[in-house]
Amino acid sequence: MPGTVQSIERAAAILRTLAGGPGRLGLSEIARSLDLAKGTTHGILRTLQRVGFVEQDRVSGHYQLGGALLHLGTSYLDINELRSRSINWADPLAARSGEAVRIGTVLEGRVLVVHHVFRPDDTFQTLDVGSLLPLHATALGKVLLAYRAGGATAAQLDAYTRKTVISKRELSTALDQVREAGWGADVEELTLGQAAVAAPIRGYGGLVVGAIGVSGPVERICDSRYRPRQHLVTCVRDAARAVSRDLGAARQ
């Protein structure tokens, strides 16, 4: 059995100290009460601050528990923040791939579209930010499902086309493949004639906070054997990595 990680124990002790304290606490007070070096304490506090578990008062410099602790069960990243941070990478993805780009996150068992860039051909298109898509029948959804603890929790596996994955076992295999490859696809699983490729967007610590992908007519997205074209997969994965880097995920 592996040993315990000391810095995590210390981080937990700092959180308990802040939770038990009368209000905001200064660095020296925290360090003194835990008998830790100031430098060590400061390093842990800065890390906790970065993940939102601790907040620092701008004027006094004192620390308190962060708002993110109250929302541990829900998505930590505001969806509008996600859009704002990814917009500079979604545009080049649309330009390079020549296809429409969408960014999605999970909301109540579905994919919520948080950003949409039109296919750059100036045909009439409508922004579908805010619309909800099925998790199991879309590339975005499969990527989001693949990295959720507990795996396939899509309640009902409705069939949208003949190719939609509707058996739990098959879906589980598909999600294994997504984790293996680091990207996912749907080929005519939601709409006949349409296909999509998506990859995960990671925040700090590698947490998957969303997915980014391109979609379009199956003959443009896939080769003659109905497999997504390699250059599209590369473009999508590069864009996903670029957004992840911006969000503070370690380089993979």
Partner: protein, 497 residues
Amino acid sequence: MTESYVVAIDQGTTSTRCIVFDRRGQLVSLAQQEHKQYFPKPGWVEHDAMEIWRNVERLAPRALQRAGITSDQVAAVGIANQRETTVVWDRRTGRPLDHAIVWQDTRTDALVHELAALPGAQAVTDRCGLPLATYFSGPRLRWMLDHTPGLRERAERGEVLCGTMETWLIWNLTGGLHVTDVTNASRTMLMDVRALDWSPESLAFFGIPRDMLPEVRPSVGVFGTAVAAFPGVRIGAALGDQQAALFGQTCFTPGEAKCTYGTGSFLLLNTGTEPVRPENGLLSTVAYQIAGAPATYALEGSIAITGSLVQWFRDQLELISSAPEIETLARTVADNGGCYIVPAFSGLYAPHWRSEARGVIVGLTSYITKGHLARAVLEATAWQTREVVDAMARDSGLALKTLKVDGGMTADNLLMQIIADVLDVPLVRPLAVETVSLGAAYAAGLAVGYWPDLDGLRSNWHIAGQWMPAMRPEIRETEYAHWRRAVERTFDWIQPA
């Protein structure tokens, strides 16, 4: 054949950037460096022009290296620059005599009041299309001549030169070419916007020796060949940053307009080849001039407080922890609940120009939540845009059909929808984030034949997003009336001492 590229130098207020673009107008690489802001006294803002030039020298090889290209693959360099920032330097040594005075600097306030009372002030305004204000470079140059011992004598002997930032950069890039472009010259108050050259009468009014001024050239056309930073590369264009954004948004036809939504917002409307005489608090400015063709003009409306109202909401009220969360908070309610915020933090700008106005929050009841306030914050940007658009329609007779948008705030979907709703025209966002530098690159590439013509540039422009108006007309009218009443409540707050 090796692929060639165009480079833009975007010399902005806080940083300088070099960006490499390919033939499709796609960003290939970017290098950026901030420069120091000097605040020697309240209201004074200065830059070290030498620091800015050194940054360009450092950024040029970095941008090329990141793109994996060499300078012989660069077809042309274009410059977009912060406007109205003015510097004076020694013709012989090339050293600035002092820091550059930045566009935000208000040290010429008293001088501008004095000048406005002189006979001939109205004629100056008529010739240049701008009101007398601290914003522009002419009064700034006069201030330098008045406050630097010996400067006037040296200027009259032709020993010192002045210019805005593109002039300074071209001087250094070419090793001594002293030129400006019509868009930057149109922000000095010294140029006759019809003649497109310095007006002797305006120079006499401000007391500025002709010999210290650069030669006025078209914005799009080869200025010269660089000997530093990009040795051997032709300088194909120079434009003020907002004019560059208009060019980058390919607003080449009268009636086409763009708005850049940032800390403040700048709306420019192409008005064609005749300058429009502004009567509703807007500025008349040169949009661009292609060498050998007549100039294209624009009306400009600046809104001082847009993104900075969101920042105020975040930093001063602390109701949100990041700017994008304003949308999340605003979406917790269906409407503004009868609440309006007019951010006249330092008076109202276009089209009202009321310096004695101060901000208000009106319509407060016990029903109002922070969600309603967030909504009112976003609506303030939308209604301010509407006021500028209405003033432009009155001045130009051109009705807006769509508004092209860019800038950081375009990431806010709710804001974009509200603006489309209150303007009652579609908003379109192009697939190009960096419209300022793209405009400089387009202009430079056009000058050297890298792109064939304006249509060639238009075909590079693609819609990345579109918001259609969806507000019922009667609601739009009622809300606009409420907004106007809220604006009236800001008037006359600061009383004469």
